[in-house]
């Protein structure tokens, strides 16, 4: 009996609705994507220059039953073949999270299939598990619109933050300077493209780069960028937007790479992972890969950079993380609620500061 059971495939239907994407996916054994549906609302929020939470929540609800059915259909499975229903319960926009949470709970109640609540950040990091096998301990650089963190993965379910941003997240800084350059949200991709056509001529500050910790700060960089543009405006001087983008990106990537490499030297993990929307940034991906090739052979980790389509918000990554929680027996009950400020635990080294 037990032997047979342990060989059984575990199939998880996952939900993600923490911000402006509504997504469902069926993931087999935490590694194989059998279906993934992503309904994006970018077009709607571009009207406002950024995500409006109430509008986001309304859109999530409009598609939730349809994309549930679609995920099952595309995976060619029925509810009978689903072993668990997983959902992002935080962090994120509370009204948006609540659509996924309410839907997943209702689905669990209607079918009797167990429920698993997943931390969105754990999900982003576990996008790597859909790309390649992770050897533990692992270290992740998690960079998105809401987060910039260095996370130590002791095993598939025990994560600790060893460094994070003291103010703006890297992705947030991209959107804010994007606005100054007239690039609509989400600005990351365009700034990345422009950066490749320009040079670092402005030498913006690299905040906290030489500090003896793994924390980040991007608000100073953002202010320096905005001041430079305003000053040029006042004296009617035209600045090269490609050079501005290149200079901004160089400052961000320098700090991220520098601190991450130092963390890799200290923690010497077996795997290095990148996760989050900014992990799709070409400049950052190339730089990290290059820096890691320069590490001494005995501490060179395996590198997993998730597929570009798995860097943004999606339910497949939630299904991947949920599989590990399933194996650990970490289930949720019908009282599961959205937790907009959910955080991974901090390492002792950070709490003792």
């Amino acid at each position: 009996m037990i032997n047979l059971d342990s060989k059984k495939d575990i199939r998880i239907l996952a939900y993600e609705s923490s911000c402006d994407e509504t997504s469902t996916a069926v993931v087999k054994n935490g590694r194989e994507i059998e279906s993934m549906i992503v309904a994006t609302q970018i077009k709607s929020h571009q009207r406002f220059g950024g995500v409006v939470p109430e509008v986001a929540s309304r859109h999530h609800l409009e598609v939730i039953t349809q994309i549930t059915r679609k995920a099952l259909e595309q995976a060619n499975v029925t509810w009978n073949e689903i072993d668990a229903i997983a959902v992002t319960y935080g962090p994120g926009l509370v009204g948006a999270l609540l659509i996924g949470v309410s839907a997943a709970k209702a689905a669990s109640m209607a079918t009797g299939i167990p429920l698993i609540g997943v931390d969105h950040i754990m999900g982003h990091i576990m996008a790597a598990q859909l790309t390649a096998e992770i050897a533990y301990p692992a270290l992740a650089l998690q960079v998105s619109g809401g987060h910039t963190e260095i996370v130590l993965l002791k095993d598939p379910t025990h994560f600790e933050i060893v460094g994070d941003t003291r103010d703006d997240a890297a992705g947030e800084a991209y959107d804010k300077i994007g606005r100054v350059l007239g690039v609509n949200y989400p600005a990351g991709k365009t700034i990345d493209e422009w950066a490749h056509r320009g040079n670092d001529t402005f030498h913006f500050p690299r905040a906290m780069m030489e500090d003896d910790d793994y924390d980040f700060s991007f608000s100073g960089l953002k202010s320096a960028f905005i001041n430079t543009c305003h000053h040029a405006d006042q004296i009617h001087q035209e600045l090269n937007k490609y050079d501005l983008a290149a200079s901004f990106q160089a400052a961000v990537v320098d700090v991220l790479a520098h601190k991450t490499i130092r963390a890799l030297k200290q923690y010497q993990p077996k795997t290095f992972i990148m996760g989050g929307g900014v992990a799709a940034n070409r400049g950052l991906r190339d730089r990290m890969e290059h820096e890691i090739t320069l590490l001494p052979e005995n501490i060179k980790p395996k590198v997993i950079l998730p597929d570009l389509k798995l860097c943004g918000d999606n339910a497949a990554m939630i299904g991947a993380a949920a599989y590990n929680l399933y194996q650990d027996g970490k289930f949720a009950d019908l009282t599961l609620n959205a937790d907009p400020s959910l955080e991974l635990p901090y390492a002792d080294s950070m709490l003792n500061e």
């Binding site: 309904a39 309304r58 509370v94 009204g95």
Partner: protein, 247 residues
């Protein structure tokens, strides 16, 4: 027919099980902003007590709005999923019609409303129709109190009723303006001022079921961001569907 009905439209959480017209059980909980935690366990409680499973429910009914936007979405999402997965019937009932249904009496006009702050109300006016669902004579909408009272006055001039009955929330503070109407009026009792899922179940019995994919809350109000955008650009709001794309 077994009907399971809910309201998450206000800070009162209400769940009921009806057998046709009869309310078998109704549970009410006052829980500020915590419907998400309490709704499903409350369902479970009712089902267990009545030795039923969700599969044995024939029709799901929900207060579809107006009301707290987040609250409405929790309720609507939940029953949409139930109906869609279990292939059961689904009905949305106006929150205001359900409120009015609890206070109807012959010859009175019932004004059901939910306080929307700054002297604004989500409100509608309803008349008793004996065996049938209360009929709406002032459409559910988002009204300033002055607009609402003007509409009531106009209706009264054409169709004199014995008394006005104000039910729901926030009308007590308008007493001065209500006096100026010079129409007999009274406020609902505490019980009448709360939404009862049992009544939603009864109203749902007379409604035609809708496709679970199509059921959406009736917010009765655009978001501020959309209104501002519309005013600034002059562009039409467009269909919500056009703003969400599969990638």
């Amino acid at each position: 027919m077994k009907i399971l009905s809910i309201s998450t439209a206000t800070n009162q959480l209400s769940v009921a099980l009806n057998e046709d017209q009869r309310v078998i059980t109704e549970k009410n909980e006052r829980d500020e902003r915590n419907h998400s935690e309490h709704l499903d366990p409350l369902f479970q409680e009712i089902l267990t007590e009545n030795k039923l499973t969700l599969k044995e429910i024939d029709r799901f009914a929900v207060a579809i709005g107006p009301g707290s936007y987040t609250g409405l979405r929790i309720g609507v999402t939940t029953v949409k999923m139930f109906a869609s997965i279990l292939h059961k019937e689904l009905v949305g009932v106006s929150t205001l019609q359900a409120l009015a249904a609890g206070a109807l009496s012959d010859q009175d006009l019932v004004i059901a409303g939910i306080d929307a702050r700054n002297d604004n109300y989500f409100a509608g006016a309803y008349l008793d129709q004996q065996e049938q669902a209360p009929i709406c004579v002032i459409d559910d909408g988002h009204y300033h109190i002055d607009t609402l009272l003007a509409a009531i006055k106009k209706y009264y001039e054409d169709h004199p009723v014995k008394e006005l009955v104000f039910v729901g929330s926030g009308f007590e503070k308008q007493q001065k303006l209500l006096e100026q109407l010079e129409i007999p009026y009274r406020f609902g009792t505490q019980k009448q001022n709360e939404i009862h899922a049992g009544l939603i179940g009864q109203l749902a019995l007379q409604e035609k079921p809708v496709d679970a994919d199509e059921l959406l809350p009736k917010y009765l109000r655009r978001t501020q961001a959309e209104a501002d955008w519309h005013q600034k650009t002059g562009k039409p709001f467009g269909s919500d569907r056009d703003y969400v794309e599969e990638v």
